[in-house]
Structure formats: structure tokens, C-alpha cells
Symmetry: C2
Subunit: 298 residues, 2 copies
């Protein structure tokens, strides 16, 4: 099973999903979920679902080949439309909002929609409860995740990350972690995408008790390929490079996979945990599948 944020986690999930031997569950971050125009937007869940269905957008969010008629018209009607919601993507958000308002849990809605899209993996939110990742910046502002990530384009310096709410795990999550042969922590942003999952106390406990937790580093040559992971870890006071990734998962992981560009880190970090270097570029599905086979062989 896998703990996942958005695009990096989705690509790892696509690789794992191709392996016949793997009965895959992906537990997805919902700290980024946001109310946009009254609609419940769940970017990480949708990125995982769309990627597994092969209909994901090219930039790590939304749908492939989507149009933006509604979003454009929202602007024409005088409302802020900086958060781009595509027309096909809106269908998911409208139906999810309706389901939640009618009392359907997020996990049940997600399960229904994955079945509808022909996805065999079990995609489940970390929690059905409200959980919000809040970003404190060096100017003292406290921002919701999408405000920080989409509207401010990660320009702010993050000095603290907190998680509102005291959420329970969604149904099935604890059992899946406990019974899994292997817990993958996806190459997502550790503080912003994985910490919110681990902020669900009973999930953190279950991961902590697990004996085979493998984290895949999101760094290449010590830096994030895109996104602010390295900057955020630095401004939060974590060590640079993969030492920071290990510190972010303090005591939780048994193995760390770094990219071959960071093979030198093995000497430095091995001992604390097992460290291996592999080609961790997962954007192509074939490469992701090969990567997953290599990890399982370790």
C-alpha cells in the first residue's frame, strides 16, 4: 500500500497498479482539499484517480484535454477564477459536493467513482473528516494550502505547517496498513503532502508499528524536480537533501530510496535506515513499473 500526495504519488501508484502481484491501496492526502465556489475540490485524490484511469492532465492536475468554459464564465460574471477548474474536472467536483452534502462519506464517493472509471486499486482518503493543511509564512500570514500553492505559487517562505482538525482514519485505512506487506511513502512533498496523512494520529501509529516502510525521496540531486519540497524542508529547519527527507519521516521508515543522482547520500545516511539508489523518474508509466519491480526485489 501507498501513502500519497498528488502527482508524484499518482505516478508511483500507476507503476504499482501495473504489477499483477500487487493488491494496491492508495491512502491519499486530503489536507489540500478546498472549497472553491462552494464545490469540494480534492486535488490529490483526483490526481491519483485520473492518473490510474489514464485521463490525467499534463501539468499534474485536472483532466487531459479539458476545456475551461465554466471557469472563464465565472470570471465574466465578476468572480475570482484564478483557481482553474476544467469543465470535465468540474463534473467530479460537482458530484462529490452533492454526495458529501447528502451525507455520503468522501471515502464512499471515491470508491464509487473509481469503480465507475474501471480502476481496480482501492483509492481512499486518509480521513473522511475535515482536515486542513495550514501554511504559516515568515511574514506571519497563515494560508490555506491552495492559497499558498495555486494562488501564491509557493512564493512564500514556509515557517510552520499545521493541520486543523483531529481526524479519524477513513474506514479500512488502518487494516490496510496493518496487513500490507509493504508501506510505500510516495515521492510527494514530505511536509506538505505526507505529513497531513501522518497527522491522523492512528495512521501514524499504524505506520510506526509497520516493519517494512519504504519512503521514495522526491529529490533529484538534492532538489525537487518541481514544486517547493526542498525549499519548504529548508525553511522548516530540516537538513538539506535526503537527510531532510529522512528527518521528515523521523523514525517511521525502514528504507529510503533515493535517486541515482543522489547515490552519494547512501554513505552518509545508510545505517540509520537502509538506503538504496534507483532511477526514481516515474513520469513514464513503463519506467514507474520497472522502478516498482526493483523496489519489491530489494
Amino acid at each position: 500500500m501507498e501513502l500519497s500526495g498528488g502527482v508524484g504519488g499518482a505516478r508511483l501508484a500507476r507503476g504499482l497498479d501495473r504489477l499483477e502481484s500487487v493488491d494496491l491501496t492508495i491512502v491519499v492526502n486530503v489536507g489540500d482539499d478546498e472549497d472553491i465556489h462552494g464545490l469540494h475540490v480534492a486535488p490529490d485524490i483526483d490526481t491519483v484517480v485520473y492518473t490510474l484511469a489514464g485521463i490525467e492532465g499534463p501539468l499534474g492536475w485536472g483532466r487531459a484535454g479539458d476545456t475551461f468554459e465554466t471557469n472563464s464564465e465565472i470570471g465574466a460574471l465578476g468572480h475570482d477564477n484564478n483557481f482553474q477548474l476544467g469543465d470535465r474536472d468540474l463534473a467530479m467536483n460537482i458530484l462529490r459536493t452533492e454526495a458529501l452534502r447528502n451525507g455520503t462519506p468522501l471515502s464512499a464517493f471515491t470508491s464509487n467513482v473509481t469503480k465507475q472509471l474501471g480502476i481496480s486499486a482501492f483509492v481512499v482518503p486518509a480521513t473522511d473528516d475535515k482536515q486542513r493543511t495550514m501554511i504559516e509564512t515568515d511574514t506571519g500570514e497563515v494560508l490555506g494550502f491552495q492559497e499558498y500553492f495555486v494562488l501564491r505559487q509557493t512564493r512564500e517562505t514556509v515557517v510552520a505547517v499545521t493541520f486543523e482538525g483531529s481526524p479519524d482514519p477513513a474506514p479500512g485505512v488502518l487494516d490496510v496498513i496493518t496487513q500490507a506487506d509493504l508501506v510505500f511513502i510516495a515521492p510527494s512533498n514530505p511536509p506538505l503532502s505526507i505529513w497531513p496523512i501522518l497527522a491522523v494520529a492512528r495512521i501514524r501509529d499504524a505506520v510506526h508499528r509497520h516493519e517494512n516502510v519504504v519512503a521514495v525521496s522526491p529529490l533529484f540531486g538534492g532538489k525537487a524536480l518541481k514544486g517547493p519540497a526542498d525549499r519548504v524542508m529548508a525553511s522548516l529547519g530540516l537538513p538539506a537533501g535526503n537527510a531532510g527527507v529522512l528527518a521528515a519521516y523521523d523514525g517511521l521508515v525502514n528504507r529510503l530510496i533515493v535517486d541515482i543522482s543522489d547515490a552519494a547520500d547512501i554513505t552518509e545516511l545508510d545505517g540509520e535506515v537502509s538506503v538504496s539508489a534507483l532511477d526514481t523518474r516515474l513520469s513514464e508509466a513503463d519506467a514507474a513499473e520497472r522502478f516498482c519491480e526493483e523496489v519489491l526485489a530489494l
Copy 2:
């Protein structure tokens, strides 16, 4: 001022709106409003607003040149998408739903959006309260309006029309009626589009007290051009033709305008009220403007 349903009322409003001498208010039926996928859809208000803005769809609902990506995807996700909501039209419905959930009254939202679209006329729902037109059929079924109108395509025989709720008039509506020189009742379906407005008891009282109420018949040669007005009036036990229109507005109107194709009705009906025959085809804006000038000259 005008009491209006959807397309017929919208076309009359467009004619009146072109006359510089007219300070126009349109009080619009909301009995047809429906929850579609959790969105508050207000078909008659939107038809009036879109028509006044010159962006109305060709079939009497929705937006001109709209696309249906979201609606198509709602179907692909396994949900009923028989109620066609266009992508641009969705912007209005999403923003309205958000506004209502945040406590903004429907009248305030409508007023804001008309200003945004450059409409000078005052478009106001009959009520900000929940009001639902319910259609009882000869098989004993009770249907919401959109179920009857869109999904069953008016095939059922209507034996009763009732209005759920005991709504108050929206702010300003009573003053507008009281102070208006002339109250137009639009060539909309009398039982299905105008009765819900008159079912707001204080609106009905204000119209009843007004001395200059002009109803425009929706009939041509005794029949509705499209839509079920003549069939519904018949199955409700009202007289055929324009006698039925007068009976539908029992005691409320001072003048009835019938189409020239029904000029023979003048002899039959004149005396109860003043009856005039004019060319009531209002689909072209120029024709609608001329028609309004002729009525004001009467």
C-alpha cells in the same frame, strides 16, 4: 412592470427594455427552480437574464453557443445527465448555489449578476423563499416541474397544480407592483408559469388592487406555439382558447391582448375586460419592441 415565466416573458421583457420611456422591473417565477446535482437551477430567471443580456440559447433555455463537457462527463461518471446543463450556464448555477449557501438571498444574487451583465432592468424573483410548483397527473403521480417539463417532456395529463411553501414576496416586489403604471402579465403558461407568482398571496393582492393589468395571451389560433399551455388549461378544466386565459387570471386583469389570429375572440370576450388583437409574435426583438409600443398606446 411585468410578471414573467421563461421564454415568452423574456421576449416581452426584451421588447419593453428597448423602450426608453419604460423603467422596467420583471418579477420572475421561481416555482420551476430545481436542485440538479446539488446546484440551484433557476430556469426562468436565467432565461430572462440571458435574453436581456443577448446571450440566450436558441431553444428558450441556457446560453447561446454553449458546450456540454461537464454534463457529458457527469454521465460518464455514472450519473443521470438528462437535465442538460451547459458549461457557461453552469457558471451561473455554481455561483448562485454558492451565494445561497452563504446566506445571500436569491434576489440579491440576481441583482448583482444582472449588473455584471450590463442589464439595466430590475430582474427579481417573485420570492426569496422556497417555492415549488408540483404537478399532479391523471395517474395520481405528483411531479416537480422539471421532472414534468424536461424529463417527461410534458407528456403527462395535468389535473392539478399546487405550490409548496407559503412564500413572502422578494424585497421591492410589492412596491414595484403598487407604483407601476402598468402591470404586464407575460405570454407565459398561465397555470404553470404565472400562477406560481400569483401564489405568493401578497403579490396576488397587489396585482388585484392594481387598475391597469394587461395580460398577453400565449395562444395563437387558440393553441400554444410550443409548450403545453393549451393542453394544461384544458386538463385543468379551464375553457378552451383565450376564454381559458381570462379564466386563469380570474378577476385580476383589466385588458387582454390576443394574437391577431384570435381576433374573433374579441367579440366573445370583450365586456368582461377590454380585449385587443395585435401581432403577438415576440421572438424577434424589433417585433417585440413594436408590440410593446402598441400596447402602451392603447
